[in-house]
């Protein structure tokens, strides 16, 4: 029977474009093609054509298509942004360049600031001013707007950010300025600060708006191109684009707010991890996505990713709703070195795709984490990628010996263990950052490890954190592409209100809720989401009067009564207690920002994805054995090597063992129990000493 009801996920990374296809019978196809950085849609078209051929499927049968893109991310990282102009309140054109007036490093005299998002001569002021209550202190000088627009257009800007003080309280001046601009220059892309981010704190709002304006001319054409390439292949559904908030959006929505895709790269992996976790019965997860050059760590409590609004990329703060993912510059390709103080450091320098680790035999001479794993025997010392790549273990040994073992006066094996221990400690500290620093005990969570290198390190990282259970998805290397298939449409709306949280403020609060829910309804309509698929969630940011940071509390997204407010204030006290170990019941509480999240739920009722690698029972299980160096064991241990594809649900293995598969290697240390779960995920259980870690209940 030809595949029908096809669902496609396309994740474009720096090296590979992963395509994941699932049909109505839960049959799954995976394909990897080289990415094409100049125009990502070339690689995508290539990958789509090939996977449809592999599956012998028709493009018309595609009913869902989601795409994770790094076009906007790379544009910001490499500062390849469109020329953009800024119109702002008189007296404040340098705000974008002054930033928060801090230098990026306390001691490094050679450090530089990232270039400003808008160059100084393209930042123009116009007379206008609002007060902190939103009243007009000085009316907008319309003639000044016209002449500023003329100057900016003469300089060839393609888009203009309009950023006025207090526009989140009173948007009239920003709207009027846009009308004047578009009347004279209808081709311009114009972004208003109160539309991109209607929240207080001007620098962050201006910066986010300017970044959005600089990305509109970059992402817009790419998305148009992407849409026409998929249409040309015969795919008729509207494609969706992954956003930083862990939801997808239509092409039009993504093109209008491209800044919302900047941090989307790792978010599909978290959504995929939540899906796998739920499949296996776990909803408290710490996700560890360890790739070649970096590792992304995040925390999922009760099946919900933590969303934050204070992320930064390339030195620019972006106040966009984003899954709270902590990225560290260390992965399999990270280079180990000994610094002037004789400290062993790993990363952030990476051997990259080329020449890569010394073990790849492409001429790399510096030792990497991968090389250390090869020396320890944890990675296959002969070949990888299912035999598509040979491994040069001797080069790995040489690199590690020369650059780590000799300077530190260590034996080779100790040096290799050292490199792995340092990287594991860094990962564990990153995991503490997203858990303990936010008031969560990591021991209450399951570590779900993916990315090419995650399953290789997961057990020891878990041990550092006191975590007893580790989950390895069936296809650790392509979890992002899978995540795209199970991602809902999502849009976040916010409104700063800044009022004392008491009954007198209820009219103001409820007026803001009305405005927010109206925006959500307009979004549903625009995205053509059927009422049955609509879901609305609310949240409110509170703080003690006089505090300057807010805490977010879940809230009813609609008309509040006095008792709703009382309950929410109590919830805020409790959250403050949980995060900071104290609360102040006698203090006045201020309500800062109201938020709604609107969902368009995607049909995931196709059932659980079967993720077997090969038709049941056809793959070999036993690959042989080799000598492997394990922490806490004096010598090397002869360790069995299993083929992941040959592992059937229900199978149990006691460590030490190594599980190899095309896209990853899973390490099961001595005394660990490994169970293959239904659906193909692996559950590793350590045996921590009593009193440490252990179950916190199912």
């Amino acid at each position: 029977m030809p595949p029908s009801k096809l669902r496609l996920g396309i994740d474009v990374g720096g090296t590979f474009t992963d395509v994941c296809l699932v049909d109505g019978f839960n049959r799954q196809w995976i394909h990897k093609v080289p990415s094409t950085p100049v125009d990502q849609s070339n690689g995508i078209a290539h990958g789509l054509t090939e996977i449809l051929a592999l599956a012998q499927a028709q493009a018309e049968a595609v009913i869902f298509l989601a795409h994770g893109t790094t076009v906007a991310t790379n544009a910001v990282l490499e500062h390849k942004l469109a020329p953009v102009g800024l119109l702002t309140t008189q007296g404040f054109r340098d705000l974008l360049e002054i930033r928060r007036q801090k230098r990026p490093d306390l001691y490094d005299l050679n450090v530089d600031q990232p270039p400003p998002l808008v160059l100084r001569h393209l930042r123009l002021e116009v007379p206008e001013r609002l007060t902190h209550t939103g009243e007009v202190l000085m009316a907008l000088d319309e003639a000044a707007v016209r002449s500023a627009a003329e100057v900016l257009c003469r300089h060839g800007v393609q888009s203009i950010a309009i950023c006025f003080l207090y526009a989140y309280l009173n948007p009239e001046h920003e709207r009027l300025a846009r009308a004047i601009l578009l009347k004279a220059y209808p081709h311009l892309a114009v972004c208003l600060s109160h539309e991109v981010l209607p929240e207080f704190r001007e620098f962050e709002r201006f910066s986010t708006t300017a970044a959005n304006a600089a990305l509109v001319p970059v992402l817009g054409p790419y998305l148009t191109n992407f849409a026409s390439r998929t249409a040309a292949l015969g795919i008729t559904v509207r494609p969706y684009i992954m956003q930083s908030n862990g939801g997808v959006a239509s092409i039009n929505a993504a093109a209008a707010l491209p800044v919302h895709t900047v941090l989307s790269g790792p978010s599909a992996g978290v959504i995929g991890a939540i899906y796998i976790g739920r499949q296996c019965g776990f909803d408290n997860l710490i996700t560890l996505d360890m790739g070649g050059t970096s590792t992304d760590v995040s925390l999922v409590a009760h099946g919900v990713p933590r969303i934050t609004g204070d992320k930064e990329i390339a030195g620019n703060p972006l106040r966009i709703p984003a899954i709270d993912i902590h990225t560290i510059g260390a992965g399999g390709g990270s280079i180990a070195r000994v610094d002037t103080g004789l400290h062993l450091k790993v990363g952030p320098e990476s051997a990259g795709v080329w020449p890569g680790p010394a073990a790849y035999g492409h001429g790399g001479t510096l030792p990497t984490v991968t090389d250390a794993n090869v020396v320890l025997g944890r990675l296959n010392p002969q070949q990888m990628l299912g035999g598509r790549m040979t491994i040069d273990a001797e080069s790995a040994r040489q690199a590690l010996s020369q650059h780590v073992a000799q300077p530190l006066g260590l034996a080779l094996a100790a040096a290799a263990r050292g490199v792995v221990a340092v990287v594991n400690a860094n990962m564990a500290l990153a995991a503490r950052l997203v858990s303990a620093e936010k008031g969560y005990d990591p021991r209450d969570f399951v570590l779900i490890a993916f990315g090419g290198a995650g399953p290789l390190h997961a057990a020891y990282i878990a041990e550092e954190l006191g975590i007893r259970r580790i989950l390895i998805p069936p296809r650790p290397g392509i979890l992002c592409a899978l995540g795209l298939l199970v991602t809902d449409l999502r849009s976040d709306f916010s409104q700063s209100v800044l009022c004392l949280a008491n009954g007198a403020a209820l009219p103001q609060i409820n007026a803001a809720w009305s405005a927010l829910t109206a925006r959500a309804a307009a979004w549903w309509q625009q995205e053509e989401i059927a009422p049955a698929a609509q879901l609305l969630e609310g949240a409110a940011d509170f703080r003690y009067l006089g505090q300057h940071f807010e805490l977010r509390v879940k809230a009813k997204p609609g008309q509040w009564t006095e008792s709703d407010l009382t309950a929410l204030i109590a919830a805020f006290h409790a959250e403050h207690e949980r995060q900071y170990a104290y609360h102040a019941a006698e203090e006045s509480v201020q309500l800062v920002t109201l938020r709604v999240t609107a969902y368009g739920l995607v049909d995931k009722s196709a059932g659980e994805l079967a993720l077997d690698d090969a038709p049941e029972g056809t793959a070999v299980l036993w690959l042989g054995e080799r000598w492997v160096d394990w922490d806490g064991q004096p010598g090397r241990v002869l360790t069995p090597i299993y083929n992941r594809a040959g592992l059937q649900p229900g199978a149990k293995i006691t460590g030490p063992a190594i599980i190899e598969q095309m896209d990853s290697t899973t390490v099961v240390p001595p005394d660990y129990q490994m169970t293959v779960l239904d659906g193909g995920s692996l559950l590793l259980e350590g045996s921590l000493p009593a009193g440490e870690g252990g179950d916190q209940g199912e």
Binding site: G91, D94, Y107, L410, A414, G418, L433, H548, Y580, A581
Partner: protein, 546 residues
């Protein structure tokens, strides 16, 4: 206890863990505190000290805070002795002469950590409190600068001493805000103790002690190696502070490099001043350590291992080692000048590393008084960045904090919502970067309108008279100015360190911070860099308000 030598990896893993504990304390402090000064501007730091009070790890936001961290535990141990220090104690101190502080607004918290019944460490954190009492209209000695706190127990073996807390809070004009910030310091301390406990439980006391010892040895080796790469010799430099009487005061240093030891002699500095910009020894030491680390090896860890290769000579009673009752509130401007002098002295020895002089001040303005709109007393302080010195291979940074400080600005939308003030201008000052092959960074101008009567204005800063110097043929950067009601017939320049000025509704203060010196012959500046400066309007007409 016998300390086994540890493998280098365990040492580094424990080192990273200790640093993470300090950082987590810093995060809790910033996020849970009340005042804008701690929260938005992050004028705070956190550290872990050993049982003798020596630094093990720091989460630094501000290099100058290292001074107070160095001092507090030493004073606690001296005053209370081991017999009177118990688990569950919390100590506070701020006094520069008896509590190890560097000025009164920096209140330091320290909590002892016991392992196996032994005092093995302190966790410590520091927050700059916006108001600590004292004379509103100007201080003449340490007593009038605020409430002096020697090391006191606010919590004794787990029991809060409300009487002591009441005494402190009674002396502050904004007790509720102080209480909020202190609570955040206590919470951060508790988190620090908890995390340190987890670390000790995981590795054991002997292993942690051995790791700390090794980390110190490594730091000592690292600094000595860096010093030995500096050509041996004697290097001298004198820079100048603006004196309160309109004259100038010498900040002079003679640096001797002998093999792997660095000696800095400040014997020729001016005598201590009757003004508020005196420096006590802990602040001098923190400043010297900053300069050494920045110039010789920024990767040096903040632990005491590296301090013993650096010797400091400073006669008591001088402006860099003041004795009671000298006022010290504005010590940070002088600390910046100490850095300038050290950099100036070592420029011939390290020509490819030393930048030209940065803005050389911690320019600050403070407004306080009764807010008639919000019906409360308010106190608002902010410090402004300026230029950073041009480097031997590139331009300086525009509008940043340099050297001993690094605090955020307060958003205009937060400031105006909270205080009876309106910001009318916040911009880079064109032409304030010293010319050179590489241009000095630009200063900032901020103009604030007062929206209430009878508001106290205080300021701090420097380099109104002596501009930041250039290097290798680069020109000096722009100077600072403080102007009341600029652009009106009543315009009047004010001094850098003013006290007791009363402002009324609609008065305007315009502060211009210094730029920074240029590096290299200006005629060698690349054509593209010149064009960029012209296009972006960063050179030419000095935008300072006359």
């Amino acid at each position: 206890m016998a300390l086994q030598p540890l493998d280098p990896v365990t040492v580094d893993v424990i080192g990273a863990h200790l640093l993470a504990v300090a950082r987590e304390m810093g995060v809790v402090l910033v996020r849970s505190s009340y005042s804008s000064n701690v929260k938005e501007r992050q004028d705070c730091s956190a550290s872990i000290l050993d049982g003798q009070g020596l630094t093990i790890a720091q989460a630094e936001h501000i290099p100058l805070h290292m001074g107070s961290m160095l001092g507090i535990a030493e004073h606690i141990l001296r005053k209370f002795t081991l017999a009177n220090i118990h688990p569950g104690d919390l100590f506070l101190a701020n006094d520069p002469y008896s509590g190890g502080g560097t000025h009164l607004p920096d209140i330091t918290l320290a909590a002892p950590y016991f392992y196996d019944g032994q005092l093995v460490a302190f966790v410590s954190n520091i927050a700059h409190h916006a108001e600590v009492g004292g004379a509103l209209r100007g201080a003449t000695d340490i007593h009038s600068e605020g409430l002096r706190i020697p090391p006191v127990k606010v919590c004794d073996a787990g029991r809060w001493r409300q009487d002591v807390l009441d005494l402190l809070l009674l002396n502050f004009r904004l007790p509720q805000e102080r209480q909020g910030d202190l609570r955040a310091q206590f919470a951060a301390g508790r988190v620090g103790l908890q995390r340190l406990g987890e670390l000790y439980a995981r590795y054991g006391g002997d292993t942690v002690a051995a790791a700390i010892k090794t980390l110190r040895l490594k730091a000592s080796r690292q600094i000595r190696q860096a010093i030995s790469l500096v050509p041996d010799g004697t290097y001298a430099f004198t820079d100048w502070m603006d004196a309160d009487d309109g004259g100038r005061e010498a900040i002079a240093v003679i640096i001797t490099v002998a093999d792997d030891v660095l000696t800095l002699d400040f014997s020729s500095c001016a005598a201590q001043s009757t003004g508020t910009h005196n420096v006590t020894f802990p602040a001098l030491k923190a400043t010297v350590l900053y300069a050494v680390r920045a110039l010789l090896d920024p990767s040096l860890p903040a632990n005491t291992g590296f301090y013993d290769a650096v010797r400091i000579v400073a006669p008591p009673g001088s402006i860099v080692n003041a004795v009671p009752p000298a006022a010290v509130n504005n010590r940070s401007d002088t600390c910046q000048r100490i850095v300038d002098a050290i950099f100036g002295a070592l420029a011939p020895a390290l020509p490819s590393r030393v930048p030209a002089a940065g803005n050389g001040a911690v320019t600050g303005i403070l407004f306080s008084g009764y807010d008639p709109y919000r019906h409360r007393f308010f106190s608002y302080i902010e410090t402004l960045g300026g230029g950073s010195g041009a480097r031997p291979t590139k331009d300086g940074l525009d509008g940043v904090h340099v050297h001993v400080t690094n605090t955020s600005n307060l958003p205009v939308e937060a400031l105006e919502t909270e205080y009876p003030l309106r910001v009318e201008k916040y911009e880079l000052v064109a032409g304030s970067g010293g010319a050179g092959e590489f241009r000095g960074g630009l200063g900032l101008c901020r103009q604030i309108r007062i929206l209430a009567d009878q508001i106290n204005y205080r300021s701090k800063g420097d380099r109104v008279v002596t501009p930041p110097w250039g290097l290798a043929g680069g020109e000096a950067g722009g100077t600072a100015s403080f102007i009341l009601n600029p652009g009106t017939s009543a315009a009047r320049p004010l001094g850098p360190r003013m006290q007791g000025v009363l402002l009324d509704c609609n008065d305007v203060i315009a502060v211009t911070t210094p730029g920074a010196g240029g590096f290299g012959d200006p005629t060698r500046r690349a054509a593209a860099a010149r064009e960029r400066d012209q296009r972006e309007g960063k050179v030419g007409a000095n935008g300072r308000l006359e």
